[in-house]
């Protein structure tokens, strides 16, 4: 029997935390409660979790800081923000700090459970060994396992999301993928306020892999559709 997935619930509102605990338990997960980021950090250090449900407004260290702290330590656990704030800036900040998804209170239970499942599905995909581990682009080499880029300027690290986008495009090389598909696989549905975010990531990636980012040879725009990646033939 597969071990239960551990979900750390960081929520200072006792009732909400209790409701989440009951539901996640009924879904077959193993929920753990923390009423503050400090407590969550202690729990995390003792025993990792497979996913974190994180409130933004917490007493003491807030959810965004805690998320930033985990990412700084190189922890890649999926994080789903739960918050009463629902302005676009708040969403963007949450996702920039390294959150994977964002749900505003009050939320729909079924949607929450679907997001949790979706995050686990994406996590499984991200953790599985990529069919192609090294991508080569005109003298640059990207390692999708180590998240590194080796090029004429030396070695640098890729952001996780950048590596994931490249991997998704590489797995379906030559095929045009639309922005919604990319958002869905990399962030989860509705997580980002706009598909412009994908465009920004693509611009960033072009600077990394294209010899001339203004005239891309590998990472191409397909008008009215999305993006596709051309790979050099393996030697």
């Amino acid at each position: 029997m597969a071990t239960k997935k551990r979900i750390l619930i960081v929520e200072d509102e006792e009732h909400l935390a209790e409701g989440l605990r009951i539901n996640l338990e009924l879904e077959g997960y193993e929920p753990v409660l923390a009423a503050s980021a400090e407590e969550a950090w202690r729990i995390w250090q003792k025993s990792r979790a497979d996913l974190i449900l994180l409130d933004v407004m917490l007493p003491g260290m807030d959810g965004l800081e805690f998320c930033g702290l985990l990412r700084e330590k190189g922890e890649r656990v999926p994080i789903l923000f739960l918050t009463a704030r629902d302005r676009d800036e708040d969403r963007v900040r949450g996702l920039e700090e390294g959150g994977d998804d964002y749900l505003t209170k009050p939320f729909n239970l079924r949607e929450l459970l679907a997001r949790v499942k979706g995050l686990f599905r994406r996590e499984e995909w991200a953790r599985s060994k990529p069919p192609i581990t090294v991508l080569r682009f005109a003298g640059r080499e990207i390692d999708l396992l180590a998240f590194t880029l080796r090029g004429p300027e030396g070695e640098s690290r890729l952001k996780e999301k950048e590596a994931m986008i490249l991997r998704l495009l590489a797995e379906r090389a030559g095929e045009a993928l639309d922005r919604e598909t990319i958002i869905d696989r990399i962030w989860g549905y509705d997580a980002y306020p706009s598909t412009r975010t994908v465009d920004n990531f693509i611009l960033g990636l072009r600077k990394l892999i294209e010899p001339d980012p203004a005239r891309p040879r590998y990472l191409l725009t397909v008008h009215g559709k999305g993006y596709r990646l051309l790979l050099e033939e393996a030697d």
Binding site: E13, E14, H15, L16, G19, L26, P59, R85, P106, L109
Partner: protein, 368 residues
């Protein structure tokens, strides 16, 4: 944000322009004063030359210049010498011109300075009003964000619980816990609605109706209203309220303030809470105090407790189970200020807290 910065820039440009205008005005007037002096001196010298010419060329004038020429040149002085007449500029005239020039310069300086002062005063008044408006808008936004959060939290838990109750696999004990939590969330929502309404009343002082009230009577009513809470929490409330004192206050505003203080005193004390109400006259003021023997409030937090949505021990030390609205003490302060009174807090960690409502005393009741 961008428009605010643009506005600030425009304002700075405006201020600099005004200052430059003012300074230019002063410089210009100073120059005008000098011109006036030179022009007057030149006018007198021209007159002098003119009169000398007339004296030389018209024989009729030479006989009696004082009778014929002098009336036409009031600023010149005709002096008889052995060689004939000499024409001088009246020495009194020169100093009169100097005095006049100085007077003009003084006048311009005062006028310029006065207008500059008016402009700068106006500009700074606009600036202060703008700053005040911005601060007000910011506090409104914070208040609204706080209210939204405080409403959304119990709503989120109610919505989660109501969906959870639909699950057939839920156990009986879990169901009972959920129902109890839902009842508590509803109580919390009702308290929030009441407090927000009370804030909107407190923020329009015109809605207040201060009359002479017996504070002891109000306190007794508040304690009677809170009897269920006092009984549930096992709190011991003692009161020393001398009869016969009157304050000028609005009844609902005073009752709300006092109720919030008593509720806080009970909630923030370890059970069983010991709360003391007292009333004392201090000159023109009446002091109505609520003292508890709870953990007290650290000095650095004493000012902030009166802000909306601030709670003591927010940084992880908030006693479990306290669900205030975050508006209680804010309301106390607003209500008291709206009635011309104030709130005082005396507290030290470990030594309890004493909140005092100070209100203007009304003349004592006859025979009271």
């Amino acid at each position: 944000m961008r428009s605010r910065r643009l506005l600030l820039w425009l304002y700075l440009v405006f201020l600099v322009t005004i200052l430059a205008q003012g300074i230019w005005w002063l410089v210009y007037l100073g120059r005008e004063g000098r011109h006036y002096l030179n022009w007057q001196v030149q006018r007198l010298q021209t007159d002098q030359l003119h009169a000398a010419h007339l004296l030389r060329s018209v024989p009729a004038f030479q006989a009696d210049p004082e009778g014929t020429l002098a009336p036409h040149f009031p600023d010149l002085h005709f002096a008889r010498t052995p060689h004939g007449y000499e024409i001088h500029i009246d020495p009194g005239m020169e100093s009169a011109i100097r005095v006049e020039t100085a007077r003009r310069r003084r006048m311009f300086l005062w006028e310029g300075g006065f207008f500059l002062f008016l402009l700068l005063a106006g500009a700074s008044m606009v600036f202060v009003a703008y700053r005040r408006e911005a601060a007000f808008r910011r506090s409104r936004e914070l208040f609204l964000a706080g209210v939204t959060h405080e409403f959304k939290t119990p709503l989120a838990s109610l919505s989660l619980y109501s969906e959870t109750l639909e699950r057939p696999e839920l156990g009986g004990e879990q169901r009972a816990t959920i129902l109890a939590h839902m009842a508590e969330d509803l109580r919390r929502l009702r308290l929030m609605v009441e407090q927000v309404l009370a804030v909107s009343r407190a923020e329009s002082p015109a809605a207040l109706n201060p009359i002479a009230l017996d504070p002891a009577e109000i306190a007794r009513q508040v304690l009677a209203d809170l009897a269920p809470l006092i009984a549930r929490e096992g709190a011991q409330v003692t009161s020393a309220l001398p009869a016969g004192e009157l304050v000028r206050a609005d009844e609902p505003a005073l009752a709300t303030a006092l109720r919030n203080l008593v509720i806080n005193a009970i909630h923030y004390s370890p059970p069983p809470a010991k709360v003391t109400l007292s009333l004392a006259r201090e000159g023109r003021w009446l002091r109505l105090s609520v003292r508890d023997e709870g953990p007290g409030i650290p000095r650095r937090e004493q000012k902030r407790v009166f802000q909306s949505f601030y709670r003591v021990g927010e940084a992880g030390r908030r006693p479990a189970g306290i669900h205030g609205s975050g508006l209680g003490l804010y309301l106390v302060k607003r209500n008291l200020e709206a009635m011309g009174g104030r709130v005082e807090l005396v507290s030290a960690p470990g030594a309890g807290a004493s909140f005092s409502l100070l209100l203007p005393a009304a003349p004592r009741r006859e025979g009271g």
